[in-house]
Structures are given as structure tokens and as C-alpha cells.
Amino acid sequence: MTHDVTEPAAAAPGHATSDGRRTGSVRRAPGGPGGTGSAGPNRRGDDWRKRLEILVFVTPALALIALFVAWPIVTAVRFSVYDWKGFGDLTDFVGLENYAEVLGDEVFRSAVGHNMVIVVGSILLQLPLGVAIALLLNRKMRGQGLLRTIIFVPYVLAEVIAAVVWLQLLQPQYGFIDAFTAGIGLDPPEQGWLGTPEYALWIVLLVLTWKYLGLAVLLFLAGMQGVSEELHEAAQLDGASWWQTQWRITIPLLGPTMRTWAFLSMIGSIQCFDMIWVLTQGGPADATATMATYLIDEGTKRHNYGIAGAASVILFVIAFAMALAYQVLILRRDTKEDTV
């Protein structure tokens, strides 16, 4: 998650360096003057040195990626075509049976649905709220720094810690929220907020919004810093009201930031696990199961590693397809603008 965050946030400088490296213009420049005196052989030596340099610098990173990314993926794919209990040799080859089973499992299908609800719900809730709060916090006012910090605090909290705090608040009957609703004369649901299948997912969504709104606000605020002050002044001279300025200038110029943020939010939602695991363990009656809780349930709890492997591959494919579609359909605009 943190990786994802830094990457697009630093998108502009990142592009510059990678482009620079790819064209090699920066590197060749110092090589050029050195090569003027003596021609062929020396240059070849430089090439070798460069290659060696690349090798030395890239190998450790590649080795780590191979070990921690590529190898686990390959292993998961391998598990997914076997019936395997978690120990002994992989002998019981079942082909694509595990995939058929996962896709035919009602719990998994509803889990995909829950993931989609979280994807869409997170964006629908956090986008307007985030923009609104960012607009407010972007105005010069007293305690601006403090307010910005407060909004951002939930995001800094570890997800598990935030989940435990909310779990305590949401305890049926004895938790703060139930006590509060009862105190103002309303009846909290009999099974508690997290125990009622009809409410549980929405409650989880609200807690997720509380947790991740800070990130949206932070990114939007950063995006707003990039909107030139001159545009605002020009608009003001033309007699635009504050609302008009924000609506016609700030928000449209915030587009690339919003699209990047939505991408991050989407990926996070598809992988959603910690919060749900602590709050509901995917229950009650699988009402909040996500793809991630499904594969933990099948894998480490039931020792159906083949099924879990297949589920993880499906999760990967869904996440990958959505990410790719988003890149092609929506983010492409931004990258084009960048290059122009």
C-alpha cells in the first residue's frame, strides 16, 4: 500500500528520471567528451563498465522481486492445479477443477460482489467528501495545520489498530455506539451493527471511509497546491465567486490527482482484508466476506490450499484486469497530458 502511495504521488519526477535513463542522454553526455580523445576500444570498455554497473545495481533488486513476488506467484499457480492439504508432495493433479469450484462457490461470488461494493462505495463516499474537506482546508485559516493533521491521523494508524478500536466502539450492547444510540432513545439493532448481516458491510464501508479519507484529502490538497494562484486571481478579476472558482478551475485541474487516487483506492478495496478480518472475520453468515478473507478461510483455516491457490489467482486476475482497464481507459489521458 505504501509503495503504491509514493509511486503515483511522485509521478511527475518519477517520469522525468525514468525517461532520462531510458534515452540515456544524461549518461552519454559525460561519456562523449571522454570518448573524443581515443575512439573505439575505450568506448567498448565503457560499455562493459556500464553493463557491469547495471548488473551490480539491478541484480539484488531483481533477485528480491524474483524471491518475494515472482516465486510466490508461480507457487500459487502451481498449488491451484493440485488438490493439496498443505503437506506432503503435490501429487493429486486436478487441472482446472479448483477454479471451477471457486467460481461456482456462492460464498466466493458474493465475496467478489462485496469487493465491488467496497470499490464503488469507497470512491463514491470518499471522493466528494475528500474534495470538500480539501477545499475547506485549502483556505487560509487558523489551526489549518492542526486540522490537516487530525484528518490525516486515521490514515497513519495501522489498519489493525484502527479496526480493534472500532470493534470496541461497535460492540453490541456494551460498546460506545450502542450505548450512545440507546442514550438518545433509539434502538440499536438487536444483533449489533456488525452482527446484522444487512448492515455489516455498510458499517465496514463507513469505517474504511473514516480510515482512508485522510489519504484522499492529503492527495487532493497536494494537487491543489499545483493549481496556479494566477488562475484564481484572473478568475477573481473576471468576477467569479469562490464557488465558481473552485468548480470551474480547482476541481477540473485536480482531475489527474483524483484519477490517480481513485486507482489507489480501487486496488486497496480489491485487496481489502485486515479491517474486515478484525471487525467481522467475513461474517456474519459471510455477509462481509471478501476475496481475501475467502482465501484465508479456505487456505490456512480449512487447509484447502489448492482452492485457496485458485482463489488467489482469480483475485490476481481480477485486480490486474481492473488495473489495466483503468490505466487504458482513464489514466491514459493523464500520461498523454504529461508527455505533451
Binding site: F87, G88, E190, G283, P284
Partner: protein, 429 residues
Amino acid sequence: MSRKTQALAALCAGLMIAATGCGSSGDSGGDDNTIIWWHNSNNDPGKSYYEQVAKDFEKANPGVDVKVQAFAHEDMLTKLDAAFQSGDPEQIPDVYMERGGGELADHVAAGLTKDLSEDASDEIDMIGGSVAGWQVDDKTYALPFSIGVVGFWYNKDLFAKAGITTAPTTMEDFYAAVEKLKAAGIQPVSVGAKDAWPAAHYYYWTAVRECSQDVLTDAVKSLDFSDACFEKAGDDLADIVAKKPFNNGFLSTGAQEGPTSASGLLATGKVAMELAGHWEPGVMQGITEDKKGLGDKTGWFAFPQIEGGQGDPAAQMGGGDAWAVSEGAPDASVDFVKYLLSTKVQTGFAKNGMGLPTNPDATGALTDPALADLIKVRDSAPYVQLYFDTAFGQSVGGAMNDAIVNVFAGKGSAADIVKATQAAADKEK
């Protein structure tokens, strides 16, 4: 396997972990006279008691070295899974805990566990019928050292307050008690349905009452749940749920963690009873501030009888832990396990309140009155049915537990429990 070792080696090198970190695991298991023993008594008095046991064994067997590793229960299970997954004898402990049933059968099928039938035949005879849960194809692979039963733990004061004078013995009594408690403004029963298994115990119990021993024994072997008693048990469960005896929010209540868990609600006097195993007094002691739990207010009664049920009225439902020896372990490990089942060790085990000993000569040593009563119930039972999720294995058991929770949530029927269980079982065949 070799690929994993390579990867591990690469990891060690790549991350420059100090040689001690990865290097030391290599020389621990290979030694013929070193026994690696994993257990889950990671709190005193159990922890120091087991250290003493290991020392005593070393003294009696010169040259043998017992390396004791105490884990928190969940940590131990995770590490055990990982060790078995590696398939590497160096990583797998020599003496470890088996819960029996389908899980053990999987370990046996993968050739991970030693057959103790002949080497420990005396101990097996001594333990008697309870050892059945740790047998696969009539061979015994582990020796149960503690077996408990699941029943209702209740708060005597709250029962008295509601005017209940005798503990319920039939379902009618039970429902009457529930109504009385409700009338007195007391929530009758807590259940940690969030964790699934505490809710599932209700169905295991109704099935033990409804099904004959033969049907249950057959079902464990054949994984065939077509006998009508399984669905009847589901109907009984639906009846119980329909009477609404449970605490508010039971679907999101955990089993044992903290004061708002099912055990916590009982320990703090918020509910009158809970269906739980022999561990309950210990769990409640851990939750309350004075470390006394319900203290002398603690009462226990067996799961009520169901009219017309085929089960033996004295049958019990529960489970336990057994010591197993891994396939690659040194021979001394078997002697060590036998020593763990000896009257001496089991007596100390009972005295320290670490569980319900299986050695008959040690049962008198239990000091905790609640446990002393419980062991009488256990020992007078014609058989103790192993928890279904253990007996049928995690895959079938998990599907069954989920379907049972659905009934608690009003989202499924008795037929759904049988259907889901059978569907998961068919995949195992």
C-alpha cells in the same frame, strides 16, 4: 523441498541475516539423542512444570537431550503447519500435539506421524476407548493426555435469582430456565458465533443426542451424512435459536477474548450460562481482574436430553490433545511420550490444573472442584464424541461450521447444514 531450502539460503545471504539466525536451525533436529518438544503450556505453572518434566526425563535417560519449546496455542498451530509444509525433518518437532480426527488422518496419509500402536500398547490400553479419536485404520498415532467434555457452565447466583432451583436436564427444562431468566431481566446464554466453533458445538451436541454411536462412528469413516438424525439435529438447533436464548449481538461476539466475548459475559455476570469445554473456568479466570472468574458461583450441567434421540443419554461431546511423534524423530521420543503419560507426570499435570488427565491413576489429583466434577462425568460416559470439525477434518468441519452459523443468523435451514457438509465431504472422497 530443496527449492525451498535454496530459497531460504538465498534469503539468508541476501538479507545478510546474521549466521546465527538461520544457521542454528540446521543442527538441532538431526541429532539422534535430541528430542524437540513443542507444547502450548506457555504460562506458569504449566510452563515450568513441563521444563521440570523434561529435566527429569533427561536425568533418567543419560545422553538424551530434550529441547522444550512453549508456544501460545495459535502460534504453535501456525508453526506446526509451516513445519509440515516444509516437509523438512529438521523443521518438524519430534514430539508435538495432535488434535486427532481428520487432521491426524491427513498427517498420517502424508507420512508425517509415527505409528505408536506397538511401542505404546500398555499406555493405549490404559487410556481405553478415548484413544479412538487418534486412530487411523485401527492404528494409534498419538496418545491423548487430556480429554475434556463440552457442557453448560452457569452462574449459580443468577440461576437462583431467576428462581431456577435445579439444573436443566431436558430441553423443556432448558427452555423453561431460559424463560425464567428472561423474566428476571437476565440474558440467558452467551455464544461466540463470530468464531463459528462455539455456535457449532450446539449442533454437535444435538447430533450426539439424536444420532446413535454407530451412526456417528460410521459417518467419521464414510463421510456419509444421509442418516435422518443429522437433519433432525439441525431442526433441534433451529428450535433452540428460535427461542432466542442468546446474548444481544451474539453473531458478532467472539469466543474468549476480553470481557465482551462469550466467556467474558459469563465471567462478569452479564449472562447466566454458556456452552463451553473444560477450559472455561481457566478462560474466565484470565478475563476477570481478580483472576477468579466466577469463583464458587461456577456451576456445570450436561447438554439437555432430547426426547426421542437415538444417542446414549450418558454420551458426551468433547475433545482433547494428544502427544504424537513425528516420523523422523529419534527413538527416545517414543519413550518420552510414554513418560508424559505416566502416572507421575499426569498427576502433576492434574495438580497444576493443566487439563483433564487420561491416566486413570491421576484423575484423583485434580484440585479444581469444577474440573474434579467434570472428570467424573467424562469417565462415566460410554463414549466421548470428538468435536465434529476435528473428527471430519478442517475442510468438512469448516463447511459444516459455516452452515451452522447461517442457521444462527437465520440464513439457513437444517437441510442446508447436511447439504453443505455432504458437499464438502464429497470433495474429500
